[in-house]
Subunit: 406 residues, 2 copies
């Protein structure tokens, strides 16, 4: 297949591009490299030394003889170039990672809120609009998030995208209907993924587009089979308070002797998936496209759920690290249960890598190796969800070096 990987320079996009290229697909990365610019804005960098996308694809060719093509293009502001690109290359499938994906970054300031909404909505809408306009029959696979469901459930398991509900009709009968799971996003970032869902539903219905939406859990780990092939193929590994996600942050904190920072009681239950499985799931989704006229196919792309404080304890036990509890900058329920269905991927043969698999230690090893690159001041999460929560965060006189206080 000819596959366009939108956002292929990112944390999940890069190993996905390598994986699909290794399987013999013709891979084209489209990215505006905005994520690298955000590193510059925040004064942070990937824990792992990450080469330019041009250099990484050169090394991939050198090591494997395969080519991954790179195209610099901003999906949110260059609609006409996107359209021409699709008309010229006519990909069979499009994997869409290209959005601002950090909840804390989306909450930093009003500018960041506007950027996230504008970038994410327009990127998704332009892709859909251009597919229709060019008359492509490409299968679109989008990376969504488990966060669209919200985390306070009513004691029902979270289904795969669609919820069966009973609705009372005029005659007094109750009829059963499948509806898109009612959105309940916890941040501006998560909200944009809920907006995406409506865009997908509309374009599948009106224009018959074939769309798969993957509601992904929190990705952990850093290496995949392909990134291990050469030092310069190494994946991005975020540890800062904005882009670092909870489990990877704990593992890095442990590696550098920084206390594991748990927000609130740590009673939040979250869904997780290892980066290697994430990449495999995308491949599985690509080989199981919906038919024209089908509704949007939704998978839950996660393999296990854990309470945040249990994860902290697990990492503490493995590494001897200490745990500190900080005030929670997020507006969310302090404790929640989470039961998630992922039957579709399991039936299609996913054999999950769980936390027990020993890969936690591998991540700590990677983190130790590059620990000299860590700026400890960048570790705390300093975005507050509301103005009321802002005082829980400490700022220096320039407002730049920020630390959470307990």
């Amino acid at each position: 297949m000819k596959i366009a990987v939108l956002g292929g320079d990112g944390f999940v996009g890069w190993p996905t591009s390598l994986h699909l290229s290794a399987r013999g697909h013709e891979v084209h990365i489209i990215d505006n490299l905005s994520r690298r610019w955000i590193d510059t804005e925040l004064g942070v960098q990937s824990l792992t030394p990450m080469d330019s996308i041009q250099e990484r694809t050169r090394i991939w060719h050198q090591e494997t003889g395969r080519r991954i093509h790179f195209h610099l293009l901003d999906l949110a502001s260059e609609y006409e170039r996107l359209k021409s690109w699709l008309a010229e290359h006519k990909p069979d499938a499009i994997v869409h990672f290209a959005q601002q994906r950090a909840a804390p970054y989306s909450m930093k300031s009003d500018r960041h809120k506007n950027y996230t909404v504008n970038n994410n909505v327009n990127a998704t809408h332009h892709v859909l609009n251009a597919i229709v306009e060019v008359g492509l029959d490409a299968h679109l696979v989008h990376l969504g998030t488990m966060g669209v469901y919200g985390y306070s459930t009513i004691g029902a398991a979270i289904p795969e995208g669609y919820l069966s509900v009973g609705v009372e009709t005029l005659s007094g009968d109750t009829v059963q209907q499948e509806i898109l799971y009612p959105a309940n996003p916890g941040s501006i970032y998560h909200m944009t993924k809920c907006l995406d869902q409506l865009l997908f539903q509309y374009y599948a219905k009106n224009d018959g587009l074939r769309i798969t939406d993957l509601h992904q859990g929190i990705v952990w780990g850093t290496h995949t089979e392909e990134t291990r092939l050469h030092d310069q193929l190494i994946n991005r590994f975020d540890y800062d308070g904005d882009y670092g996600t909870v489990l990877n942050r704990f593992l890095i904190q442990a590696a550098i002797g920084y206390p594991l920072t748990v927000h609130g009681t740590g009673g939040q239950t979250r869904a997780f998936i290892h980066i290697q499985d994430s990449v495999r799931c995308i491949e599985i989704a690509l080989s199981n496209a919906p038919k024209r006229g089908d509704r949007v196919k939704i998978f839950n792309q996660m393999t296990e759920t854990h309470r945040v404080r249990d994860l902290a304890e697990m990492v503490a036990k493995l590494t001897g690290a200490k745990i500190t509890y900080l005030p929670n900058p997020r507006k969310e329920a302090p404790e929640n249960d989470l039961i998630v269905k992922n039957d579709q991927f399991m039936e299609l043969g996913l054999n999950p890598i769980t936390l027990k698999e020993g890969l936690l230690a591998e991540v700590v090893d990677v983190a130790r190796k590059y620990s000299y690159r860590v700026d400890r001041n960048r570790i705390p999460c300093v975005s507050a969800w509301t103005k009321d929560l802002a005082p829980t965060i400490e700022r220096d006189p320039e407002g730049r070096r920020l630390k959470s206080v307990s």
Copy 2:
């Protein structure tokens, strides 16, 4: 109250501004005048000769001694100016009409789809974001549409925004929950109003904003008590295939001896409201604001439902006009029932103006008076909902003078 009317130069915004000013409120219109530009783009004009906004507000002052202030500002692209404006003026309430509101216009081409999504999402998000940032406690009243519900119902009455559904829990019990009515938009325009709903839900929950969303039916009529005061206070009156809405179009067609153009079988049932009631409803909504922390308050702003072909027959009977049936450019069910609840406005004292009230004839009179301004070539609706439906529309060699063919 000090009230900002966003989009106050439009068809509903202008009579609302007059009505609120007449009731003694301090009214500030914010508008980028994009609707006037779209007239220019399409080569159409309001049936009624409409003065500049500056001139209209001057006449209003001359006639009543009251001032309506006008501020030229693009909500979608001038966030910083919006924020400064709100910080300076601190309105008690904000009425938000400022969106691209025609479904056919939103479906004209990929450029129009992008424009509608970008304009409408960013306009709404900027307003919400700025209210939070400035720390205003203003009540936001937004004009949504009945179209967010979609028009194929399951034989249940359409509730006011929230639907009670039964969800099965893990223990096998069914619990009853109120959810936002599942979105089922029929065009890009309607879809943006569904996106708005999620933005409102999020900002009400996360930031405690006080928001009312009015799901309005199709507005008919042209005069209100205040626009009748002076010729130059006359309201905009759209008759073209993009902006003209069904009942008003029939009345104009009748006035100029053009056959009433019914799309498909005319079996679509729609909800309607007279412009005078629309204006009253907004006043009622303003005096019944939700409290901080409440969920978004949703009203159905409509007073009666009718099947399109019944309306055509009613107008034909009143005026002697003929009816022609044209292929439907919209992708929708050919026939549907529609039962809509509007209990909240009725309980708050709305005394609806119905089609029986004799105002149909008034509209025909206005249309006859200005019939010399009608360009008959602009009457057909020439936007097709999908590429498959496009051949139902006839284009001249320049692709400009377009006519529907049956």
